[in-house]
Symmetry: C2
Subunit: 140 residues, 2 copies
DNA sequence: GTAAAATCTGCAACTTAGTTGCATATTTTA
DNA sequence: TAAAATATGCAACTAAGTTGCAGATTTTAC
């Protein structure tokens, strides 16, 4: 019964007009079973170290993203920008807006977003961060 | 009249029991005038290339963060985790929860957060992403 | 089923972010 | 102003992510 996830992955690849390769199928299946987003390093490790070249994994992910089957989730790790601690509480800071045109990031200190509630059982939420994407006045 | 921001920066450093060094004052002032978070590379560039070693900038930021004067904002760039596109709309995906204990990231597909409204004049918000931090059941 | 066309994959080599150890320079304290 | 405390710069390193290209795999068309 290994079939069902496998077939689903293949069907999705076909629908997206992508070649059904071992690596793509493996990554789609892996992401399908994973409860959260994974990095290239995590994917490589979970598929069995050395199974696939890291370049292949990056390129595979790129094609899956372009096809809309997969998308990037932002994760704190290695995202190191700094700002003053003004107007920031323990639990939440203002949202940050990044313009998809020019790439500039702005603080939206005037907006506040309610904190998430109803975390799954057993999870304790301590902090929330919100990122917005769109166009700034000069790029709109 | 260069004084006011400068004095404020120095006062903050003193209050935090940090040495008032040229680099710290410069970075605090820079972040004070900046409308958004900056990376090490951007800071180096804006302070005049070669003025400070990158190691110094990283260490300065680290001490400012530890003192609570500055904090890290997450920015998409270089945060490359991937997941299936299930349950994700154009405008918003489910929140992601990262455990500060074990570092694992989970998708909270059951929660939804209202989209930000009232963007500053001229900005157009196209997409919103929410990150949560806290403790997972095994680490709580 | 098979050959040609289209597309992937792996390898080597590279770029850039971020870190560590240590000697020297700067700031603070007394 | 000297000694103690702490920051800084440099060199060398690790690890993520990218590019070009040759060889391998998948698909298409017959």
């Amino acid at each position: 019964m290994k079939g069902s996830l496998d077939n689903e992955a293949r069907a999705n690849l076909r629908a997206a007009k992508l070649y059904c390769t071992r690596c793509r199928v493996a990554i789609l299946k892996l992401l399908g079973r994973s409860g959260g987003p994974l990095s290239q390093v995590q994917i490589a490790r979970k598929l069995g170290g050395g199974q696939y070249d890291k370049v292949t994994i990056y390129r595979t992910l790129e094609s899956l993203v372009n096809a809309g089957l997969v998308h990037k989730a932002f994760v704190q790790e290695r995202a190191w920008h700094f700002e003053l601690s003004d107007n920031c509480t323990e639990r939440q800071c203002h949202p940050h807006f990044t313009c998809t045109g020019c790439g500039e990031t702005h603080c939206f200190t005037g907006i506040s977003i309610p904190m998430a509630e109803h975390a799954p059982k057993g999870f304790r939420i301590q902090r929330q961060q919100v990122r917005l994407e769109g166009l700034c006045p000069s790029c709109a």
